[in-house]
Symmetry: C2
C-alpha cells in the first residue's frame, strides 16, 4: 500500500458526507471551504506524536485516532465554534504500511477517528501522508470551525467579580493513565460516556456552543494542559487573578479512587481532561447542566494586584495557598 | 527555553502584521480568520520531516524554513489563491531547545520562513510545538488562502484539445540536490531568484493569481512530485490524456549541465520544482510571461481512449513513448 493507495482508502472511508461547507475535499492541491455567510473561521492545529502524546503499548489504535481529533475539537469547543472539517497529516513508520498487522493498526486508528468525527458531523477534507523518519507514528490534525462573526469565546474577556466554572469532572484522564501504567493494560472501550477520560475523552463541543449561543460566558479555555496551567493562561489573557475553591472542584470517579493528595494533583495538574473552564458574570443564573454536561462553580475572578498571586487556592480548612502552574508543558521534561 | 518561551518568541517575531484577515492570531485556543466577503477558503497542509524532505547536513536552516512554507504556498498558487495566513506545527529534538547551537538553528529556520512569508504578506496565526520523539525535526505547515467564490483553479477542468503549459524551468531542484549530494555542501543563498531551485524554490503565487484573474487556465496543478506524476494526476482528474513534447520542455540551467539523459530524468521525474502545470484552450493567446515568469507550451490534451496511455512522450526523433509516473511518492521507498 503506497501513499496514493492510503490516501484513496482515507477518501473512500470518509467520503464527503456531513459537510456542506466543504466544496472540494481530498484530491486537489487544496481543499475548498465555503463557511456560512456571517461567520468567522476558527483554526487550531494539534500534534499527536507517539512517545509524547500516546504510547502504542498503552493506547489502542481507536483511542489514538479518537484523541487525535478530540484535541482539536476541544479547542473549537473552547471558542464556542461549530466544527466544519478536519485535515490530518500522518507520518507512519514503514512497517505500518507494509505489514498486515500495521495496516490493521491504521484501519483501527481511522475507525476511532471516524467514529468521533461522525458524531460531530465532520469529515476529513485533506492532509498529508509521509513515511515517518523514526519508528514513531506522527500525526498533526487541523480543525476548522465557524462562529457567528465577532462572537467566538476568547480567553481574554474575564472580569473581576466574574464566577469561575468548569464542565464535567477533573482528574479522570490522569487517573485512568496512572491505572494503565500500573497495570500495563490497554483498556477496551467502555460503553458509558465519560468512562474513559484518558483514552476516549469527550470534547465539550455542545457546551461551548451553548455558552456562545446563550451569551453565558465572558471568557473560556479548554483544560488540556491541566487547570493550574490553563487557568493561568486565562488570567493572564484577561488581566485578572483567580481564587479556586478546592472543595468545589468536581472530581472524576476515577480520580476519587486515588489518595486525596493524588486526586487533587490529578485534578489540578494532570491535564488531558478536555473540559472547559469559563468565566461568567456573577449575576448570570448558570444552568446546572449544559448540553447534558454538569457545570460547577469552582471559584471567582478578582482584580490583579502586585501582591496577589495569579491563582489562589482556597483550601478546605480556610487557608490560602498560591497555586503554581504545573500542568503539561512539552519542553519541560515532565 | 521552554514551550511557552518558544511560542512567545515566534509571536514576537511574526507579530500580526500583514493579514487583515487574521482577527486573532497566536495565543488562544484557536485563531480567528475573517476571509473577505465573496471568497472561498483554500486549505493545504504539508509535512516537512527531517530525513524525508530535508537533511540537516545538506539544507541550511534558512532553506528548511523557506521550503517548509514554499510547499504550501505552491499548493495555493496551483489553485490561483491569495495567501491569507499560515499555521506551523513544529516538533524539535530536545537539544535544539536546550543548546545555544540548537537555538541558533531555530532562529535561522524562522528567518528563512519569515523572509518568504513577508514577501507574500502573510504571518503565522498559530500552530503547535512539541518535543520530537526522535532525533528528527518535524514540521507540518498549514496554509490558508482565498479565491473569489467558485473561481479557484482545479485539477479537473482540462479538455481535449487544450494546450499544456508549464511555468519557469524544470529539473533544477533535482539538479541542485544531486550537486549538493556530490559535493556534500550546503550552498549559501545566492542573490539571484531561481538560482537555488532546490534550497530556495520560488512558489508561483503571482502566476496562479494571474491565471485565475485573467481566466486563462481550465485546470492547474503544481509540480512538486515531478511532472510525470503530477501531469498524470491532472489527466485523471480531468478525464483526458496528454501528449508531452520532450523538445519543448524548458530545462533549468542547472539541469542543462547534467548529461542529456540525467537532465531529462530530472525534468520529468525529479520533483520539488514547484512550478505550475496548467491547461488552457488552444484558442487562448497565452502571454510569454505571467508575473515575470516565463510560460512555455509543452504539449496538448487529447481524448481518453482505452488504447492510449495517460501520458505520451513525443521524443525529438518523432517517436512516441508511454511516460509512466515515476515522481516522488513517500511510501515507494525512492
Amino acid at each position: 500500500m503506497r501513499e496514493l493507495a492510503l490516501i484513496e482508502q482515507i477518501r473512500r472511508d470518509f467520503g464527503s458526507a456531513g459537510s456542506r461547507a466543504v466544496a472540494l475535499g481530498i484530491g486537489d492541491d487544496c481543499a475548498i471551504l465555503r463557511p456560512p455567510a456571517g461567520t468567522e473561521v476558527l483554526v487550531t492545529t494539534d500534534f499527536t506524536l507517539e512517545g509524547r502524546h500516546f504510547r502504542r503499548d498503552l493506547h489502542s489504535p481507536e483511542s489514538v485516532g479518537h484523541r487525535c481529533l478530540a484535541r482539536g475539537l476541544s479547542d473549537l469547543a473552547a471558542m464556542g465554534a461549530t466544527p466544519m472539517t478536519a485535515f490530518l497529516s500522518l507520518a507512519l513508520p514503514a512497517d505500518l504500511v507494509t505489514t498486515a498487522k500495521g495496516r490493521g493498526w491504521i484501519a483501527r486508528f481511522f475507525r476511532g477517528l471516524r467514529s468521533l468525527a461522525g458524531r460531530h458531523d465532520i469529515t476529513l477534507a485533506g492532509g498529508d501522508t509521509a513515511q515517518s523518519p523514526a519508528d514513531a507514528i506522527l500525526a498533526d490534525i487541523v480543525l476548522l470551525g465557524t462562529a457567528p462573526r465577532g462572537r467566538a469565546l476568547r480567553r481574554s474577556g474575564a472580569k473581576p467579580g466574574d464566577a469561575l466554572y468548569v464542565t464535567g469532572a477533573l482528574g479522570g484522564a490522569a487517573a485512568e493513565l496512572s491505572s494503565m501504567l500500573a497495570h500495563n493494560v490497554n483498556p477496551a472501550k467502555g460503553s458509558k460516556a465519560g468512562e474513559h477520560p484518558q483514552t476516549f475523552p469527550e470534547p465539550r463541543v455542545g457546551v461551548g456552543q451553548a455558552l456562545l449561543r446563550r451569551k453565558l460566558a465572558t471568557a473560556c479555555i479548554d483544560i488540556s494542559d491541566g487547570i493550574s496551567t490553563d487557568l493561568a493562561h486565562l488570567c493572564r489573557s484577561s488581566g485578572v487573578t483567580a481564587e479556586l475553591e478546592q472543595a468545589a472542584i468536581p472530581l472524576h470517579p476515577l480520580a476519587s479512587k486515588l489518595s486525596p493528595a493524588a486526586a487533587l494533583s490529578a485534578a489540578l495538574h494532570g491535564g488531558e481532561d478536555y473540559e472547559l473552564l469559563f468565566a461568567a458574570p456573577a449575576s448570570v443564573r448558570m444552568p446546572r447542566q449544559l448540553s447534558g454536561v454538569p457545570i460547577t462553580r469552582i471559584g471567582q475572578f478578582r482584580h490583579r494586584q502586585a501582591t496577589r498571586p495569579l491563582i489562589t487556592l482556597l483550601e478546605p480548612d480556610g487557608s490560602r495557598a498560591t497555586l503554581e502552574p504545573q500542568g503539561w508543558e512539552h519542553f519541560s521534561g515532565r
